[in-house]
């Protein structure tokens, strides 16, 4: 029996992210119609590094990283690790987190992100 391939998703990696941030990021992607998979990260890292690792793990090559303080980054696997498509500092607001999720989904669907 061949194993069924898992459906493609945006990977969201976090190092103990605050719940509201995680919820809004996932909601942003869902509103745009793209599924997400949430994974806690074993090793501590900043948001852009988490996002880049997540993008490399995503079949869609798009990842979101959220650090323990709630800083958010959106990345594509082909971009240089230090240059995420979007980076939000810690202390953001729900509309900002929602937008980060939407940006990740729009990179997948090829819609403008700015």
């Amino acid at each position: 029996m061949k194993e069924r391939p898992e459906p493609p998703t945006i990977v969201v990696r976090h190092g103990g992210a605050p719940g509201p941030v995680l919820r809004e990021v996932c909601a942003g992607a869902e509103e745009e119609g793209v599924p997400t998979r949430v994974e806690p990260s074993g090793t501590p890292a900043d948001a852009p590094a988490l996002a880049h690792a997540a993008a490399l793990a995503s079949p869609l090559e798009v990842g979101v990283g959220i650090d323990g303080d709630g800083a958010v980054a959106v990345h594509h696997a082909s971009l240089p690790p230090g240059a995420p498509a979007l980076a939000l500092p810690a202390g953001g607001d729900p509309p900002g987190w929602r937008r980060a999720g939407a940006v990740a989904a729009r990179i997948v669907t090829g819609l403008p992100i700015a």
Partner: protein
């Protein structure tokens, strides 16, 4: 042998041509180009002229004292002005409809019911309901409330949301209904009224609310009422989602704004035309009035205001009183301008009809002699004004390889399009018509609703491309280009112009094809129409077939597509048409400056 320099002061650039002249022979030494200082035809031009002459001298390694004479052009006493007015207006009264296109509506189908605020839905309203959700509600709470209401037996048929949550809410509903979101002024949706919400599947447009009889069926209208809602159906055509609320007095009106009458006074007769009859009717009237002596608009109307504005601009530039300024040509262009709908609840936009008018004025006060005196002072040499611009341009154009007399030149400038014909015997006729590069920019700006002249200028000058990933873009001709460095996120998936500073996004939701169509149509309606109009006025017997060579000059002759469009338009008349290449090296530049030198050499020859 004499060392002379021809200087052409244009609207935007000042060009110089330095040459050795002797016994009718001309030896080109150097050319130079600089930005024009001040308004063309005013004493301030001297600074730019001196800069251009110095640059040419330096390039040729000659000192100013060796210079024999500076020759300046007689600036064409033509200035043009522009005005644009919308002539229709869409107004929604009593908030009867929402016809915007949110990026992500939820659910599909049509729901009909009475509007109820979400706070009241758990009170168990009777009959089918459409729930209205104000800003600030979380998507989980909305879904939980709606699910609880359905469990209580409420007949939920649709929802209208303020926030961008439609998909999130729909995904959590136990009963799937159409949901329209991003309705900014949701508080203005009347409650307790019968309403219909329709969302089409992805890739489709709504079918029921954009159909007059669909509306009649949904709301049970009689023929008289159906006639009244027909504009609503028309306003919603092409949308993916829509809301219509039936209020006792609500309506959508498509109002025609009275624009007024344009009076074209010709030498033989005077013709009046209503501006809202459109560009074609205006241009027909103009053809009957030719040659035009003056044009006026009915005072107190839009057209009166438009022409007054043009006259005021001319007064500022020339110092002539408005009463002495005669409009000698007009070009009217029909255009469609997106405008926000008055009374809309979600920032709806409707395409309105507009007319753009370019008007051209002839002045009799050229102050080039003052410019010549200052140039002579600065350079310590003699300076003279001479040569009609059109004739000089034709002489300069003759240095283009493959051209001989009779030759017609078409100078595609900023404000006016100028044609001149130099016949076999050296006689020259010149004509100026209103409308050129500036009008093209204005049309692009208005039709794409950019509201930014610089962006419009970018769209006009550069080809488009679509950024398809962080590492590649597709040009408008379909060619794909891979780039080594990642493209910035702000241009990702955007339509961009490709200028010298790299890709810059065009701020519109229109796709590449639509933007390209707007750009090309603007150029066609101005340059192709005007080229034919101007050439017919200089061609023998007004017959384009009588022309042999047409040489394109001026800034817009450097455009990446206008020369091809003109060559296509002139091909049926058997005319050779192409961009000029003055001296075989200068392209469409420097024709007038070179013509001045050649005319001087011819006059000096025995």
């Amino acid at each position: 042998m004499e060392l002379v320099v021809g200087v052409d002061v244009g609207n935007s650039t000042t060009e110089a041509c330095l040459a050795q002249v002797g016994k009718g022979a001309v030896t080109l030494l150097a050319t130079a180009l600089t930005r024009t200082t001040g308004v063309k035809g005013t004493p301030k031009n001297a600074d730019g002229a001196v800069t251009a002459v110095r640059a040419a001298l330096e390039r040729a390694g000659v000192t100013p004292d060796a210079l024999h004479r500076v020759l300046l052009n007689e600036a064409t006493p033509v200035i043009s002005g522009l005005a644009m007015e919308t002539i229709t207006e869409t107004i929604i009264t009593e908030s009867t409809m929402i016809g915007h296109n949110p990026a992500t509506p939820g659910g599909t189908g049509i729901g009909v019911g009475v509007t109820v605020a979400i706070g009241d839905v758990l009170d168990g309203p009777e009959g089918p309901v459409v729930v209205v959700v104000p800003p600030g509600w979380d998507f989980d709470d909305v879904a939980a409330t709606l699910n609880a209401a359905v469990d209580k037996g409420v007949d939920l048929t649709a929802a209208i949301l303020a926030g961008d949550d439609a998909v999130l809410v729909t995904n959590r509903l136990t009963r799937k209904v159409p949901v329209v979101d991003e309705v900014a002024a949701v508080e203005k949706v009347p409650l307790g009224m019968l309403s219909a919400v329709e969302v089409a599947p992805p890739g489709r447009t709504i079918r029921t609310l954009s159909n007059s009889y669909g509306l009649a069926t949904v709301f049970g209208l009689d023929p008289q009422q159906t006639r009244q809602v027909a504009p609503v159906a028309r306003a919603l055509t092409g949308n993916r989602s829509a809301v219509v609320v039936r209020t006792p007095t609500g309506d959508v009106t498509d109002r025609r704004i009275p624009v007024g009458e344009l009076t074209l006074r010709g030498e033989a007769r005077t013709v009046r035309v209503d501006v809202d009859a459109g560009a074609e009717a205006i241009m027909d009237a103009l053809a009957r009035a030719q040659p035009l002596v003056d044009a006026t608009g009915e005072p107190g109307t839009h057209v009166g205001g438009m022409l007054a504005q043009v006259r005021d601009t001319m007064t500022d530039i020339t110092g002539q009183p408005a009463s002495e300024i005669a409009i000698r040509d007009v070009l009217a262009v029909d255009t469609m301008v997106p405008a926000e709908v008055r009374g809309g609840l979600a920032g709806e936009v409707a395409l309105e009809n507009a007319v753009a008018l370019a008007a051209m004025v002839r002045t009799d006060r050229s102050r080039m002699q003052a410019v010549a005196d200052r140039v002579a002072d600065e350079l310590g040499t003699s300076a003279a004004v001479g040569g009609i611009e059109g004739a000089m341009a034709a002489l300069g154009a003759l240095t283009t390889p493959g051209v001989e007399r009779p030759v017609a030149v078409l100078d595609l400038g900023g404000g006016s399009t100028d044609a001149a014909l130099l016949d076999r015997d050296g006689a020259c006729v010149a004509m100026h018509v209103a409308g050129a590069g500036e009008l093209v920019t204005k049309l692009i700006d208005a039709e794409l609703a950019l509201d930014n002249r610089e962006t419009a200028e970018h769209v006009k000058r550069h080809p488009l491309a679509k950024v398809e990933s962080f590492y590649h873009l597709r040009h408008e001709d379909g060619t794909v280009q891979f780039v080594q460095e990642p493209l910035p996120p702000q241009v990702f998936a955007r339509v961009v112009t490709l200028g010298a500073d790299g890709p810059s996004p065009v701020p519109t939701r229109l796709n590449l094809d639509a933007i390209r169509r707007v750009r090309r149509e603007a150029k066609r309606r101005v340059f192709v129409v005007n080229a034919l109009r101007a050439l017919r006025q200089v061609a023998p017997r007004g017959d384009l077939r009588a022309l042999d060579f047409v040489v394109l000059l001026g800034g817009s002759a450097l455009d990446f597509e206008v020369p091809d469009m003109l060559a296509d338009a002139l091909a049926p008349y058997g005319v050779v048409c192409g961009t000029g290449n003055v001296h075989g090296t200068e392209g469409p530049r420097n024709a007038v400056a070179s013509g001045l030198v050649m005319a001087y050499a011819q006059a000096a020859a025995p």
